[in-house]
Amino acid sequence: MHELSICQSMLRIVDSAMEQQKGSKLRKIFLDVGRGSTIEPVLLKEAFAVITDGGPYDGTELVINDIPIAGVCRDCEKEFVYEELAFGCPNCGSTNIKITAGLELDVKALEVDD
């Protein structure tokens, strides 16, 4: 939806980390993007290509770890992942579940040339 402004925020984090890398070339940015985060990886890569074109990160690869929505049942304690959004515990049918993953939007790491 607003992948361009997300890219700008991401690049501010990257810029600040790269200041400590003294002239190294940034090869890859590793991101965790949860399926419930509202950010679409394909659009994020497109926005990234636009925003880095001709700049110091032109050619840097965005490596996105797509994280499914996962939960745990508070009643039977079973953990599960939603492939499709169905609700309720697949084990006992309870709706007393806690969503444990799938909302991430994190810069995990960078890969730089030494």
């Binding site: 607003h2 990257v14 890398q21 419930g36 985060s37 959004l85 806690k98 730089v112 030494d114």
Partner: protein, 225 residues
């Protein structure tokens, strides 16, 4: 090649400013609600109905967020709110930066409540903390009873879900129990309210809920909490 660990949320910058906003609101002793919904769910009508019930005894500030026009700010001002309209010009959500910018010029000295009416959008505002006390999602009965699971982020993030336009239920095939069940799956700790901003059904409970929390916040601040 070497790996540099970062481990930072992309929303860090927004979150940091949101905390600054939170401090400003706390210093002013105001209770702040961020209202998020699709266009047409009834955010402004709910604010009008709330102002009708409260504006005479409680000083209420509204921060309106829209892509364009001052229509919503005009409506709430006519019912006794003071405040400011933010026009994003195309932006699909309010950010903590936008709220921080208007806070500089907003007089909160006599205010008790601040409502932030977000841009009509059930997707993007969910990931932007503005510095509020409560993030509320408003869903109306005319939007279909399959929505919570289709918009998991906002129903997970919002601590209060308000189901509006219950007066229209006789005219709709709408499974309210199913909607509430889905919301509880996405947010077991969240609260759910049903009301009609138009007819007033459920509005007393809504007003009481807000005022109780506003007073609790003031009391805990007075205790140095």
């Amino acid at each position: 090649m070497s790996r540099v660990d970062i481990e930072r949320k992309i929303q860090d910058e927004n979150d940091r400013l949101a905390e600054e906003n939170r401090k400003v609101f706390t210093e002013a002793g105001v209770f702040v609600m961020n209202i998020i919904s699709s266009p047409g769910s009834g955010k402004t009508t709910l604010l009008e109905a709330t102002l009708d019930r409260l504006a005479e005894r409680v000083n209420i500030v509204v921060i309106e967020g829209d892509i364009s026009t001052e229509r919503d700010m005009d409506r709430v001002r006519a019912r006794g709110a003071s405040g400011v309209q933010i026009n994003t010009g195309g932006g699909c959500h309010l950010s903590s930066r936008m709220v921080a910018d208007v806070l500089e010029d907003l007089d909160l000295s006599d205010a008790e409540l601040v409502f932030i009416e977000n841009v009509g959008n059930l997707v993007c505002p969910s990931t932007y903390d503005l510095g509020e006390d409560v993030r509320m999602v408003l869903l109306s009965t005319t939007e279909g009873d399959d929505k919570p699971m289709k918009y998991p982020a906002i129903f997970h993030e919002a601590s209060l879900a308000v189901l509006n336009k219950i007066d229209l239920l006789p005219h709709l095939t709408y499974d309210m129990e199913k909607v509430e069940k889905e919301i509880r799956v996405l947010n077991p700790e969240g609260e759910i309210m049903r009301l009609s901003a138009l007819t007033g059904d459920g509005m007393d409970a809504w007003v009481d809920w807000i005022m109780e929390r506003a007073r609790a916040k003031k009391a805990s601040l007075a205790d140095g909490g």
